[in-house]
Subunit: 291 residues, 2 copies
């Protein structure tokens, strides 16, 4: 099985990411059968209706017992529970991956809970939207996006190679790194941004003048706060499973804002700050466009 | 002149806002002549070429001497210089307004520098883009946007009424408030966001692992950092003219981030934080759509 593409893929959790993976896999030229399961009957039905999955499992156990590849696409904290429940029902040689935003915790749970005949590789597509749920799923959500894979030393190489090919089939770019490095990087470029976005809404909306003040909030406010409209459970779980890395970035940002505050009269400091940031962002944008 | 619309409007500074005002005024049904002036010959030429202005002044003095209404659309710090230069050449009864992002400072300069026969009303359209320059000017930039007017006690009421009608003609919504209230509000909903956006780029791009890390930065990072690509001079000038209000918001945010950092293990705190922010933003978004 490992040498070929998995024939039967099962997606557990049919929200924005799970549903989009289903649509993207179905749209690929792969000869596969995609089935799925979700705790919410309505999401399961809509996934069937939109063609994200071809078959709906009646239970988690049934959903994985015939699958060559299981993709867990639930919020981070639910991953542990799913691993525990599916472990006794997995086919020997089955591959399990997830799409959770933090990786060290999921990898540890998998080592603890899955049989040694099952290969687990943590996965994280760097795509999403503040529009969550199966109703916002799109086959092209992963087009051009990086898709992290976080194998450990004991992960069979063929399994990693297989997942990389699968990722390329849905238009994404596989990027291999350790679970710890992944978590440290996303704390800075993904988790810090959504906490900042949320903190900005909290600070402004907590002001006694907010009902008048918000009339002046325009497109800049809208964009910087976009991530504050993301799934609260997902954001909560990310903080709870990447605690130290996010905390350390928050404290770093807190100190940086204090530094900037002391330079509000310093023309040279301010100009350098704004010019350098613009240049750095431009470099990143250009690199991103080339991908 | 005050009872009717001004016939001759002059725009000083033809960047994104000045150029867009020209295009919007030309597209309105008003019976007006719009001319302009810019320190950069290239911007002046392009403004003529795109139809943002009908005539190009050969100097600041010439640009204002026949005008009924002068709109200063330069970065904040340049407003003082423009006021000083145009003061001796203004037609009696001329009205002067500006579009700078901070208002108390501009109003003070106007009181200092303009003849008493000239009415000055601070203005601030809550529209913009990180795409600056006349090449990005659009006639519909102000459609549905709030447009602040900050008259003082001595400002003739008819002048304020006239500017309100003009603002409505370009599709924006006039909002009258004092210069000080304006500056306090925008410190929170406009200036704090662009400093946060910039600080996030500085923090991440300053990391030794940035060249690898930035591969993981996705649409969330792109949106939260969008304002970091704004005009560095505009952002610098805003900080220099709204120093205390921005500083106080930055310190408030710094403390809030410290508070959040100490709750990274607190499930209830985190969930409430993310849920409340999402709700507050939704309320704001819905109110905004109704405008």
């Amino acid at each position: 099985m490992i040498d070929n593409f998995p024939r039967h893929i099962s997606i557990i959790g049919l929200g924005l990411i799970g549903g989009s993976l289903g649509l993207a896999l179905q749209a690929s030229p792969l000869d596969i059968v995609v089935t799925g399961w979700d705790a919410h009957a309505a999401s399961l039905e809509q996934a069937l209706h939109t063609g994200a999955i071809e078959g709906a499992a009646s239970s988690l156990a049934e959903g994985v017992s015939h699958s060559d590849l299981i993709i867990i696409a639930t919020p981070v904290l639910a991953v542990r529970n799913v691993l525990e429940q599916i472990a006794p029902h997995l086919k020997p040689g089955a591959i399990v991956t997830d799409v959770a935003s933090t990786k060290a915790q999921a990898v540890t749970w998998a080592q603890e809970l899955l049989p040694s005949t099952t290969a687990f590789v943590g996965g994280h597509p760097m795509a999403g939207s503040e529009q969550h749920g199966i109703q916002n799923a799109r086959a092209d959500l992963f087009k051009g996006a990086m898709y992290c894979l976080t194998p450990v030393e004991t992960t069979p190489r063929q399994v990693v190679a297989l997942l990389k090919r699968l990722i390329e089939q849905i238009g994404a770019k596989p990027l291999q790194l350790s679970p710890e490095t992944h978590d440290a990087y996303v704390a800075a470029v993904s988790h810090l941004p959504f906490v900042l976005s949320t903190a900005l809404v909290r600070l402004t909306s907590g002001d006694p003048h907010w009902p008048e003040m918000r009339q002046l909030a325009a497109t800049g406010y809208r964009d910087v706060t976009r991530l504050a409209s993301g799934d609260p459970i997902m954001h909560r779980d990310i903080c709870l499973t990447n605690t130290e890395a996010v905390r350390s970035r928050l404290l770093e940002m807190s100190r940086l804002l204090e530094e900037v505050a002391t330079h509000m009269n310093d023309m040279v400091y301010l100009q350098t700050l704004f010019e350098t940031a613009r240049q750095e962002r431009d470099v990143w944008l250009r690199e991103r466009e080339k991908r």
